[in-house]
Symmetry: C2
Subunit: 298 residues, 2 copies
């Protein structure tokens, strides 16, 4: 295993060891234990990270509150919305997004927050993509889009966000929520060939937030290559494969591309920093993610 | 640290890793994480054992029920009685004892049981002490005495159990419960010099179940050395120090002595076997206990 070199440094578990975990259903394929334990070991922190399949979120969070030394949770599908109902405090932006992926226990007081949106923003910033004043096209208006759109609208100062989705109620809800809770101009349209063509003609940054192109249904893209224009940056939240068909097409056109794996790494990095209060060993975490995704891609 | 040699073998934590923990208040000085993690590592089992200080036992157990992969708990002071109220099933003998020190989660169904009494029985048997047909004197009728007396009465077939305590209600309750729920003849008397002298004159096995002689108030014993008789076996539940004043006095008289540390090791061994379903690496667990107790005794 690639993280073996870090595990050699693993501290003995003591009565003071802080416990973190991912809860979801299923959780068997989660990379989070491998990522966070490698990071704890790299910094010699007295933490351990495990995985719990959970059906009853309320009881799981009640248990977290009662079990001192239980420091943090990563919340994954299908509990990201439900978990928000059972914590004591949720950041305002996360209330608007409507889901959380992180719970921190501070002396039995549970704080819920999201790192998916900030993880995406960090991925764009790390790639040098300028957001302020730019036209952003979001393809898909589901949970990932909500997290990213709210974060960019509130922290990135884009010129406008344009939303496309085939699901009109979902689309209208996100457009209305963004308009009500942020100062960013928001446009939206039902996803059609014509709407996509028009939107692509104006977009500086294209963010794909649907599962299209995800393993095992790789090789498909919602964006015909002919629609890409010079100067655009293209970000795909899908990270299996690491380079989707959409990103490969954009790269072939000479555009800057950002893989969803950067958002995935960064959401874990930001969680780690909330769990521990120290800077995350980003390259260690990246190495674990890449080793696992590379392996599973074979 | 003495267990370092085992930790080198520690498995990477995965999404399948089974979690065990001790809950109590306080838990900072518990040896259980060191003991069980060394044993998991020695057998290369995919388990990890942590410690949680807990005030709300009901919520902690509710959480355990919800968090799949949470396999087992050691319950310590002050939760041994309260925990029994929040599990789904308690073994009959443990209902009579009135406390549990172990909870096992079987698919979210919580089973409570005690290993203190069986741990004491195993300590006596491992030392070759015959219980069947023998007169047993128990000094002290509190929680440890209840667990040991019920276990010996139901599994050891002693000729009789004689109980002594200064606390009359506690004494009478245990005597009545043993008489009602076991076939073993039970006698009891309030602890006085005369009562102790008479009881010691008849006892084959002397079991001390009070905190007298425990660190930091070492050097005291409830039994004057002159009362020990040839052929008696003397067992002290106190294990700090490893040899109490009572045991040192009995040993000086040539009697067989059994330290409470054997009960402590065995209760952990029996828990481990319930957690994992495999035979415990007893010598590994003993080595960890002895290393920690030897260290703290310095």
């Amino acid at each position: 295993m690639p993280e073996d070199k870090f595990l050699k440094k693993t501290r003995p578990i003591s009565t003071h060891t802080q416990v973190c975990a991912v809860i979801g259903n299923p959780v068997a394929h989660s990379l989070s234990p491998a990522i966070h334990n490698a990071a704890f070991a790299a910094l010699d922190l007295d933490f351990v990270y495990v995985a719990f399949r959970v059906e009853n979120v309320a009881s799981a969070l009640s248990g977290m509150r009662a079990l001192e030394n239980f420091r943090g949770l990563s919340i994954t599908i299908p509990h990201k919305m439900e978990a928000m109902k059972h914590v004591d405090h949720v950041e305002e932006v996360d209330r608007h997004i409507g889901s959380i992926n992180t719970v921190i226990s501070e002396n039995g007081n549970l704080l819920g927050l999201g790192t998916d949106g900030p993880g995406a923003l960090k991925a764009l910033m790390d790639a040098g993509v300028e957001i302020a004043g730019k036209q952003i096209l979001m393809i898909g208006a589901g949970g990932a889009a909500r997290a990213i759109a709210f974060t960019l609208a509130r922290q990135g100062r884009p010129a406008a966000i344009f939303l496309l989705d085939i699901n009109k109620p979902v689309l209208n809800q996100l457009a209305a929520d963004l308009a009500a809770k942020t100062d960013t101009p928001v446009l939206s349209g039902q996803m059609t060939d014509a709407a996509l063509r028009d939107a692509m003609a104006q977009a500086d940054i294209v963010i794909h937030c649907t599962p299209t192109g995800m393993h095992p249904r790789e090789g498909v893209s919602l964006v015909p290559p002919s629609l890409f224009r010079p100067g655009q940056a293209v970000f795909d939240v899908v990270y299996t494969p690491l380079e989707t068909r959409m990103l490969a097409d954009a790269r072939a056109k000479g555009l800057q591309v950002i893989s969803g794996v950067e958002m995935f790494i960064n959401q874990a990095v930001l969680q780690f920093e909330r769990f521990t209060g120290v800077d995350a060993p980003v390259e260690v975490m990246r190495m674990v993610v890449m080793a696992h995704l590379g392996k599973s891609a074979k």
